[in-house]
Symmetry: C2
Subunit: 419 residues, 2 copies
């Protein structure tokens, strides 16, 4: 195993003012290529604590990935502490200064402040790593066949350095030194229940051969985690690939992607390929479905817009749902959902209309329609489909699940999956 | 200082499949009452690693807060490892079984499965803590004047146990044992730039008296962090209060809340009090502003809905923006923004209309209107205001900032702040 420790440095994370999204992002990237995470640790801007955690993790890991504390202010201790840890000294790097100048120059700034020039002081024994999306360079220390990477805490900069330097470095180390590896891959499915998935994959045990398969149900569909470990990274990759191929041959249509990709992105790509468009009519989600579609750069190619119809009056007046329908069946009903989807499609002149109407909670539930009841409908040129969902009693989760279910409905239609 | 270590147990967090939001939540609650966080640590479902981190943190902290690994499956190691750590034994607790039965009974389930009955086995020396929102009880161990709390990893359950037991326990310990404390408070402002804020607070140094004041600019406005430490918790609280009072007297109107509260919640409460309503017209944010309003339970009292007008045609046809206006000034312009806000207000018959139109990126920017240019407008019965913003080149950040700026515009209007 190539053992990785992830260290986050910074008071703002320690005292909870910022959620530590960096650690999970880094961990995910590392396990995808076969590294083993042994620990995440967050410490404050405190020399003693940083030194302690460095000493401790240096002994038990092969690679240490540090984020934070690399900026130009007095609080930023990562560089001085690493210098101390390695018994090193700071030197001025003209190469790094050049990078910093380049960075500012591209943004129309020709003068580098004294404070930012300080970023060009680096420990003598480290290799600086060019940061094209920020000013503070990454730092790589190699000692006793171990590596320590220090990266800025800004997610965009950290991700850039991870992709450019850290991931290739770890991948190479695993392959070159024949570290026993443990590789994880995740296939994302939607539109199929865990039990049906299990039925369709019956018999897979016979081809697993030491590869592990786990079903991870989530709000957004069931994820399949396939992992295996072994001495030889190529062999491990190939046994995992065999299992992935088998799964794809059995349930390929339900797999919308691998790793991090979002369903909105996949649905958007499908619409784009087909030159089709979509509009949304949202009640309980209040705009979240539109927000999810438009998260994707370039979504204006297929997403036309929508109506947020939070009140019944708006459902009637702007979306043209019949008053009698709402009176007879209620705002959260198959009939209302269908008219919302149908009418938003016509109003926006889009290929598809999707609607969501439900009771997000905590109030508004009844015996017949408890909190978590949601109707979702899809309208196309020649049919209208509607599905009822019964989510739980948590408002935020209900809204998230509704968005996922709406995207799944459209995805299933586009992939000819029976709904 | 009362030193707190936060330990998260679970493979899913360790390998990055779940973001660790629990640690930041816990940290925030602890620093608010004067505890000092020394470390967060994440370890996997691995007995050896859990034992190691327990031993290490037990030596250096006064309170250890553990989440995760308390469920009924074989992976859940927190209980057995704590039993081992304290040289304890598991006993069956009838009291805990009663709690579990109660929990299920309230949900209409009269039978407790064998697996769930196992949750009633607890280490003999611990005090079980009733979990009213889940089945696994919290556990409290007290030894050598130190306390270890173990809580389930489900955020809702953890938060419940924190509020019911952990926070009062720590507060009491700090007060009783006269621990030197370090207390943080955060005031959230909006609608005022950092430099103006600093000007308005000029002279505050004279009343600080050892209290620290930090300006933390973020996408959503400038937060003011006020912190102080000392031997006596009451005295520390009172010196902080003096500074808070002074700040409020100078810039009270710009402070929309303290701690975690969201601007959408505050704006919603103001609208509610005034019996007023709002509708939104969103272009580049694609529904996110509506999503933010409707995150708040009970938002249907004041949020009527909106139009997501992602394409120009929709801006014209549904929102009634004049074709000539878009042709002459562009979709991202003061004129278009104003017509969007004005017309959505009329269309929805709401007190206020808010519009957002901008270039989120990465594409669509020009020399005159680079990526990040956003116009936001507010329409009321007797006027229309529009403001131009120049955000950066990151799509996601631009969208977030646009939502924040739109809420700020409405907040400022409602509070009579000059815009």
């Amino acid at each position: 195993m190539l053992k990785v420790a992830i260290i986050t440095i910074g008071d703002e994370i320690l005292i909870g003012q910022i959620v530590n999204t960096n650690s999970s992002w880094i961990a995910q990237k590392c396990v995808e290529i076969g590294a083993t995470i042994i620990e995440h640790c967050v410490v404050g801007d405190n020399e003693k604590h940083i030194l302690e955690v460095l000493k401790r993790t240096f002994d038990v890991s092969d690679v240490i990935l540090i984020t934070g504390g690399l900026g130009p202010t007095r609080d930023d201790l990562t560089k001085p502490v690493l210098t101390k840890f390695f018994g090193d000294e700071l030197i001025f790097s003209d190469e790094v200064l050049q990078w910093i100048k380049e960075y500012y120059f591209k943004r129309g700034i020709n003068e580098v402040t004294e404070r930012n020039k300080n970023l060009a002081f680096i420990p003598k024994s480290c290799t600086p790593l060019k940061n094209s999306v920020g000013t503070a360079p990454g730092l790589l220390f190699e000692k006793e066949d171990k590596a320590i990477f220090a990266m800025p805490g800004v997610p965009k900069e950290m991700q850039h350095l991870m992709k450019e330097y850290v991931i290739p470095y770890i991948k190479n180390k695993i392959e070159r030194q024949k570290f026993p590896t443990h590789i994880f891959r995740v296939l994302q499915t939607c539109g199929i229940a865990e039990s049906v998935l299990a039925d369709k994959l019956a018999g897979i045990e016979e081809i697993l051969n030491g590869v592990n398969l786990a079903f991870l149900p989530s709000y957004k569909g069931v994820r399949l985690r396939i992992d295996a470990s072994g001495e030889d990274v190529f062999q491990v990759e190939s046994s995992i690939q065999k299992v992935v191929d088998y799964i794809r041959s059995k349930i390929g249509n339900y797999i919308f992607g691998e790793g991090e990709i979002s369903l909105a992105q996949v649905v958007g790509d499908l619409l784009s390929e087909r030159n089709e468009t979509v509009a949304v009519a949202e009640s309980c989600t209040g705009g979240l479905l539109g927000g999810e579609f438009t998260n994707i750069p370039g979504s204006s190619r297929y997403f036309l817009g929508g109506v947020i119809a939070y009140s019944n009056e708006i459902k009637e007046r702007i979306l043209g749902v019949e008053k009698e329908v709402i009176q007879k069946f209620g705002a959260v009903s198959q009939e209302t959902a269908k008219q919302m989807a149908e009418n938003v499609r016509k109003l926006f002149n889009s290929t598809y209309g999707i609607s969501i109407t439900g009771i997000a909670g905590p109030e508004g539930g009844t015996k017949e329609k408890p909190v978590g009841t949601v109707w979702i409908s899809l309208s196309t040129a020649d049919k209208v489909i509607a599905k009822k969902f019964q989510f739980g009693d948590d408002r935020h989760i209900n809204r998230e699940r509704s968005v996922g279910a709406a995207l799944t409905l459209l995805y299933s239609y586009l992939k000819n999956i029976e709904i």
